[in-house]
Each structure stands twice: as structure tokens, then as C-alpha cells.
């Protein structure tokens, strides 16, 4: 089996000899805006015969933060969940179109969604730590993947990356449910990091948190983006403007004749452009607060 046919598609706008120039993993990224982690082409999501989202096409650049914004019911969470195949868990959900992840079709029948979710972590709207100790929460992912040694290091590193280590290192065996909401959400980030993903999907991670906890999470995102590609769904336009490099704006296409709403992608661009000079009128109306 050869992947050579796929390779050129990965780099949409190839810089000269980017293949050779790309630094070794772990080093400071160079010219990464041209490296693409996900390519989505005409993605639609159906629940049974109902089409929840239609014809979404955009690329997700590596080591950047991409925000998905739009009014509620526009399907941005649904789109996000296509990237780690969480939609597979919903019985009658179906995804059409193509999504490639680092050159491989995510929905290839030989691809195991379990491994996809290990490489593409997710943080959910409501902090959802397991009813176990802090340590066991972080070690959960490596353990199910079969890892038995070196868990202490993984737990420590993940908690450090999630900026939680200082707060919890003396009570790793306490229940995670005793943490504050903001701490719980950072624990969930540590839990996601612990399995060594390269992408983090965040589904409105701050909607249940107070402003201080929110600020901490936002700072954290900036700190870890050199190691991870981050996609964040947010209700909060200021948050998108603060944290993201690129922004995708979605809206709902309401059909009054049969009372259905289908999510559509309006435009994707740098965050600066979306919030200062969007090319679509609908985006402008939304970001200036005239709609939604």
C-alpha cells in the first residue's frame, strides 16, 4: 500500500522543500501555518434522514488554535465531533464527505475510532472527571491502552502541562470530584494529554466556568499550542478573538417550510480578518452582535 498519492494533498500550498525543512517533532515549529492536520471536504452529518450539517469544507493548520463559532444550533459541536469520530457513538448518525487526518482518511473502514480518539483528544463542555482519584483520572487513558510502567511520570508531566501539578501534587490520591470546576476542567485536559495526542478538540470548555477559571484555561491553551493543534467550539466571541489564530463561522440555514435547521459553514479565515473585516455579511452581523 502506498501513501504517495496522498502526500501532495496534505500540503495545500507547499513551500519549497517543506518536507525537508520541517523540524523534528518537539522543536519549535517553523512555517507551520502551511502544515495541515485535517482536511475536510464536503462534510455532512445526518441523524437518520435529517441533515444536521451540510457541505463543510476547510483545513485545520497544525499547531494553531482554530475556533468554531456561530449561533446555537448551527452544528459546530456536531462538526467538532466528526474529527475524533465521537459521532460514531450516536446510533443513527452518519458522516459523508471526506476528512483526512495527517493524510489518512479518518473514515476508512480499517481505521479504528478508538485509536483515532487516542490521537485526537477531547475536552467536553461540562468538566467530567471520573469518580476516581486525581492520579487514576490522568492514568486512565494510558492504562486502557495497556501501559503499566512509567505512569507516575506521565501523570506528573500531564498535570504540569495542564498547569495543575502545583495545586494537586500533594493530594494525587484524593477524589477528583473534590476539585473546583476550573481545576476539574484542567484535570480533564491533563487526562486528554496523558495519552499523547497531537490534537485537542475542545467543546465549549469554559461554558461552565467562572471568568477566572476561564482565563486560566485560555492561558493554558496558549502555552500548549506549540505541542498540540487545538480546535475549540465556543459560544463566546471574545474568547474566540482572544485565543484563536483562525476562526470558522457557522450559521443555521432555517427552512421554514419543513421547520428544519441545517448547519452551514459561512467562512473560514484568520481570526483577525473574521473579527475586523469579514468577507460575508452574515459573519459581520454576527460578530458585531446584530444577530445571534
Amino acid at each position: 500500500m502506498s501513501m504517495t498519492d496522498e502526500a501532495p494533498r496534505l500540503i495545500e500550498r507547499p513551500v519549497a522543500a517543506s518536507g525537508e525543512a520541517t523540524p523534528a517533532p518537539g522543536m519549535a515549529p517553523l512555517a507551520t501555518e502551511r502544515d495541515v492536520v485535517f482536511q475536510s471536504q464536503d462534510v455532512s452529518v445526518y441523524y437518520g434522514s435529517f441533515r444536521a450539517v451540510r457541505d463543510v469544507t476547510f483545513d485545520v493548520p497544525k499547531n494553531e488554535i482554530m475556533a468554531l463559532i456561530g449561533p446555537s444550533g448551527c452544528g459546530k459541536s456536531t462538526v467538532l465531533r466528526c474529527y475524533n469520530r465521537m459521532n460514531d457513538l450516536i446510533e443513527n448518525a452518519r458522516v459523508t464527505g471526506s476528512i483526512t487526518y495527517r493524510g489518512t482518511d479518518l473514515y476508512d473502514e480499517r481505521v479504528d475510532p478508538v485509536e483515532v480518539r487516542r490521537r485526537i483528544g477531547m475536552v467536553f463542555q461540562k468538566p467530567n472527571p471520573f469518580p476516581k482519584s486525581i492520579y487514576d483520572n490522568v492514568a486512565y487513558g494510558p492504562r486502557v491502552a495497556g501501559q503499566k510502567k512509567g505512569l507516575d511520570d506521565i501523570v506528573e508531566n500531564s498535570l504540569r502541562k495542564a498547569a495543575l501539578w502545583e495545586e494537586v501534587n500533594d493530594r494525587l490520591n484524593d477524589s477528583a470530584l473534590g476539585l473546583s470546576g476550573g481545576q476539574q476542567q484542567r484535570l480533564c485536559i491533563a487526562r486528554a494529554i496523558a495519552v499523547g495526542p497531537d490534537v485537542l478538540l475542545m467543546d465549549e470548555p469554559c461554558s461552565a466556568l467562572d471568568p477566572i477559571a476561564t482565563a486560566r484555561i485560555e492561558d493554558l491553551m496558549q502555552e500548549i499550542k506549540q505541542d498540540y493543534t487545538i480546535m475549540i467550539v465556543t459560544h463566546n466571541m471574545q474568547q474566540a478573538a482572544r485565543v484563536s489564530d483562525t476562526t470558522a463561522f457557522f450559521t443555521a440555514d432555517v427552512r421554514s417550510e419543513n421547520d428544519t435547521r441545517t448547519g452551514i459553514l459561512v467562512e473560514v479565515d484568520t481570526t483577525q480578518k473574521i473579527f475586523s473585516n469579514p468577507s460575508d455579511e452574515r459573519t459581520e452581523n454576527y460578530v458585531t452582535g446584530r444577530f445571534g
Partner: protein
């Protein structure tokens, strides 16, 4: 609003209506009747427990130890009369039910709640299980009789020894299976979606999610269901009569943990109670023996039931 009330007439009218409300005799009568319904029910329960306790003193008060060690006898005055064989049968029936019905029932519930696609076949199985739970217990006895005693299928009677504690246990395992499936299924449905998503999100497989998140969270609910079904199995008599539990005389008196006697003729606590109650018309001394056997049975059954109720209430409170 307040200023309007200064009107004397309306004030009087309100006072009168409050007065009327206080003297709402029909409402009071209604409430009293409802309270009586509950009180009568609880009084019946109390009378039942007291009657049994008083009747049982002849045996329990004077020769408890001999009574627990004795065997089935044809006369109530026989000093070797006792419960040993009944307790042997009930103990092993409980063990067989736990070994057979719990794994299969919980497994079926896991499949139906977590794996099965929502299609017609699945809902057929679910409706089927709910209907099975309503089938009278005596009918299960018929099934046990046809299946395990008469060897109509696969010659199973050779394996069970025909009318034996093993046959009785298998029959009651079949009887409580639907209850285990239904109560476990409810426990699985109560597991929050966030826990499952969290585990799937870090790359756990379906079974890993079930084993590490769903089962632990649902464990108290499952335990409640299994305790209730165990209590039900230990208290059932009708199916055992059908599979030929002995009410007259039994030959040997096996040790409580003598596995070899599993395929021999057997009896069980509820059968002993039935037999002694029926004989009490002819030989009044059996009333005390039956009551004493009831006390022993109730101790086990009510212990399991109250454990189940306490467990459920505690976790309902804890999880809001």
C-alpha cells in the same frame, strides 16, 4: 392590594373563607380515609409479624439449636424435628441462582443497553423479558418439570438427578433472570453520558468503557436488583413444588456444604413452611414449627430486602 383589603366587607369575606377552609370536614374525612388505608395495611403487616413471632416461641424459645439441626418428621412432637434439610436446600438454591442468573442476567442487560442496535429484534427481546417477569412463578415450575425432570430436552434429567436441589436452583434462576435483566438495565441507563464520553474521548474501547466506568457506577443499582431477586428466589415455593421438592420425609441429612447431595431429593425452607402449615390442621404442634421456620426465612429475606432498600436510598440521595 393591601389597601383594598381595608374594605371591611372584603376582609370579612376573606376571614369567612379562611374559616370555612379550616372547617373543611369533607377534606378532613377524605384525608382520614386515606390515612386509614395506610394504617390498615401497616396494621396487617404488624399483626402478621406479631402472630408469627408469638406462634414461633414454642420452638424458637425452647429448642432453637435442636430445631435448626433437626430434620423433617411426621409428628410435631418428635424431638428430632427441625429445619436442617430446608436450610440446606435454600442455601444451595441461593448459590445456584447467584451463579447462573446473575452473570447471564447482567450480561444480557449489558448487551441490551450498551451494544444492541435499536431495531425491532432488540425491542422484541426487551418486551419479551418484561413479559417474562409477569409470568406466574408456578408456570416456571412447569418448565423446570418438563425440562429438568422429565428429560424432554437433551436428557437434562440425568445431569440434574431429576427432582433435586440442582433442578430447583436452575428453575428459580430462570424465574429471577428477567428481574435481574430489568433492574440491571435501569442501573445502566442511569450512568451519565458524560462519564462514557470522557472514557471514549481518551481512547477506551467499548468494553473498557463498560468495565471501568459503566459497571462501577451502576454497581449499587445492580446489587440492589440482585439482592431483591435473591430474596424472591429464596422465598418462592410454587416452582419447587412442581419440580418435586419433598414435603414428607427425606432420607439423609447432608452437611450444609455437601455438594454431593445436590442431585439428591431435596426440600427448601418455603416448602417446609408449606408442609407444616398444611399439617397443622391434623397436628396443632406444627403451627409453632411452621411459625419458627417462617421466622428463619424472614430473617434471611428481610435482611436482603432491607439491604437492597437501604443501598438504593443511600445512592439516590448521594447522586441526587
Amino acid at each position: 392590594m393591601i389597601s383594598r383589603l381595608s374594605d371591611d366587607r372584603s376582609r370579612a369575606a376573606i376571614a369567612a373563607s379562611i374559616e370555612r377552609r379550616r372547617g373543611d370536614t369533607r377534606g378532613l374525612l377524605f384525608k382520614t380515609v386515606l390515612q386509614m388505608c395506610l394504617l390498615i395495611t401497616l396494621a396487617l403487616l404488624a399483626v402478621l409479624l406479631v402472630t408469627v413471632a408469638l406462634d414461633s416461641t414454642d420452638q424458637i424459645g425452647t429448642r432453637l439449636w435442636d430445631f435448626l439441626q433437626g430434620t423433617l418428621r411426621s409428628r410435631s412432637t418428635d424431638e428430632r424435628l427441625g429445619l436442617h434439610q430446608g436450610m440446606y436446600g435454600s442455601l444451595w438454591i441461593a448459590i445456584i441462582v447467584a451463579v447462573l442468573a446473575f452473570p447471564v442476567g447482567i450480561g444480557a442487560a449489558v448487551y441490551l443497553e450498551e451494544y444492541a442496535p435499536r431495531n425491532r429484534f432488540t425491542s422484541f427481546i426487551e418486551v419479551n423479558i418484561r413479559n417474562l417477569a409477569g409470568v406466574p412463578s408456578v408456570v416456571y415450575g412447569l418448565v423446570g418439570l418438563a425440562l429438568l425432570l422429565n428429560g424432554q430436552i437433551f436428557g437434562l434429567d440425568r445431569f440434574t438427578g431429576g427432582s433435586s436441589a440442582l433442578s430447583g436452583g436452575i428453575t428459580l434462576a430462570i424465574l429471577v433472570l428477567p428481574i435481574v435483566v430489568i433492574t440491571s438495565g435501569e442501573a445502566f441507563r442511569a450512568v451519565p453520558i458524560e462519564l462514557r464520553e470522557g472514557a471514549y474521548g481518551v481512547g477506551a474501547t467499548k468494553w473498557e468503557v463498560i468495565r471501568t466506568q459503566v459497571l462501577p457506577y451502576a454497581a449499587p443499582g445492580i446489587l440492589t436488583g440482585t439482592l431483591l431477586s435473591m430474596a424472591r428466589a429464596v422465598g418462592e415455593a410454587a416452582p419447587l413444588i412442581l419440580v418435586g421438592a419433598i414435603s414428607g420425609r427425606l432420607g439423609d441429612n447432608p452437611g450444609l456444604f455437601d455438594i454431593g447431595a445436590l442431585t439428591d431429593q431435596f426440600t427448601a425452607l418455603p416448602i417446609v413452611i408449606t408442609s407444616w402449615t398444611v399439617q397443622s390442621g391434623r397436628d396443632g404442634g406444627f403451627t409453632a414449627a411452621a411459625a419458627a421456620a417462617i421466622v428463619v426465612l424472614l430473617v434471611f429475606v428481610l435482611m436482603m430486602n432491607s439491604a437492597a432498600i437501604l443501598l438504593r436510598n443511600r445512592f439516590e440521595k448521594k447522586r441526587g
